[in-house]
């Protein structure tokens, strides 16, 4: 993965516009957060292979970045995005890594289902 290049990410987001795409999205602070610090409230969520389409998408912010996808009846939103990759299967992988290199958020789009 490389640090976000806004122009390339925006182009990739636009390329999936109005297509049926699979979404992987997650946010997490790790299953061990409360084990190491009992004052820490552990939370996370992920969805894998939600099928959707969007009419509008944008990456914005000074970095870390925010991404919003406008879907027919609502929105997909992620913040904290630091890195991107367009992989060999033409999937757009966006991720936010914390200062220790741990994944904190991910938003990925693909025309075929993720394995």
């Amino acid at each position: 993965m490389d640090p976000v290049n806004m122009k390339e990410v925006q182009e990739a987001l636009d390329s999936f516009k109005d297509k049926e795409v699979y979404l992987h999205m997650e946010t997490t602070n790790g299953a061990y957060a409360s084990h190491f610090n009992d004052k820490f409230f552990s939370a996370g969520a992920y969805i894998r292979n939600a099928k959707l389409s969007y009419e509008r998408a944008k990456i914005t912010g000074p970095g870390p970045y925010r991404v919003g996808l406008k879907i027919p009846f609502g929105w997909v939103y992620a913040e904290g995005i630091t890195h991107y990759e367009i992989d060999s299967k033409s999937r757009l992988l966006l991720a936010g890594h914390d200062y220790d290199g741990k994944l904190a958020v991910a938003l990925q789009l693909s025309e075929t289902a993720f394995e």
Binding site: A31, D38, H97, Y99, G101, K102, A106, E115
Partner: protein
């Protein structure tokens, strides 16, 4: 360490075996005891991606699969089984499916000892679900035919509620193999390997304990 007939190790994540039990595994194998390691997932949802990142959410499973195979190789495990569950989802599966798979392995291998996590004291939901399924599978067997259960507990309330572990193995003779197994999972352990090697050199008591002793609780059914 008692000589076993066959040891079955059941954990949900690649690297679960490395920290807590790899010295014990190596010791059994060095005594000529066959060890089967059933690993439920590939740790697909692991968070260590590196800075700069060396992995993505999509490449991590394959990386961790190779690391798992490498860890098995350095420990001498020849029967490694990857059960194909997905990280963080074990507790949501039908428990009878996993219990059935463990029951089948017990029938096939006739282990005298099973190593897994201690239900209620193993922190991660996948660990808990795995330990529960192992205990349930063994509980279904007639009392005289049950393998021993040596379970790993590390929740913060373990000592308060279970007391000290009743099984303590001195694994100093295979400390190098243990360190190599930890190293094999480099995507997950890179950040601590240097510190551990340094600690070993300086005889840091915490690191020495980690590379000298492994502890288990005998689970009584």
């Amino acid at each position: 360490m008692e000589k076993e007939q066959h040891v079955l190790v059941v954990f949900p994540h690649p690297d679960d075996e490395a920290f807590g039990v790899s010295g014990t595994i190596a010791s059994h194998i060095n005594m000529g005891t066959p060890v089967t390691y059933a690993c439920l997932t590939l740790g697909e949802m692991g968070r260590n991606m590196g800075n700069p990142p060396f992995a993505t959410r999509e490449t991590l499973p394959n990386i961790r699969k190779h690391e798992l195979k490498e860890a098995a190789r350095v420990l001498g495990i020849t029967d490694l089984r990857m059960l194909g569950y997905r990280d963080k989802t074990v507790e949501f599966e039908d428990p009878d499916k996993l219990i059935g798979q463990i029951t089948d392995m017990i029938e096939e291998l006739n282990p005298s000892l099973i190593i897994s996590f201690y239900p209620g004291y193993s922190v991660h939901p996948d660990h808990e679900a795995t330990g529960e399924a192992v205990v349930a599978a063994v509980a279904k067997l007639p009392a005289g035919q049950r393998p021993k259960l040596h379970l790993v507990a590390f929740a913060n309330n373990t000592i308060d509620e279970l007391g000290e572990a009743d099984i303590v193995h001195d694994i100093s003779a295979v400390a190098d193999q243990k360190l190599a197994a930890i190293k094999a999972h480099q995507s997950q352990t890179q950040y601590m390997i240097d510190a551990m090697a340094e600690g070993l050199k300086n005889k840091d008591p915490q690191v020495m304990t980690r590379l000298t002793f492994e502890q288990f609780y005998t689970y009584k059914l």
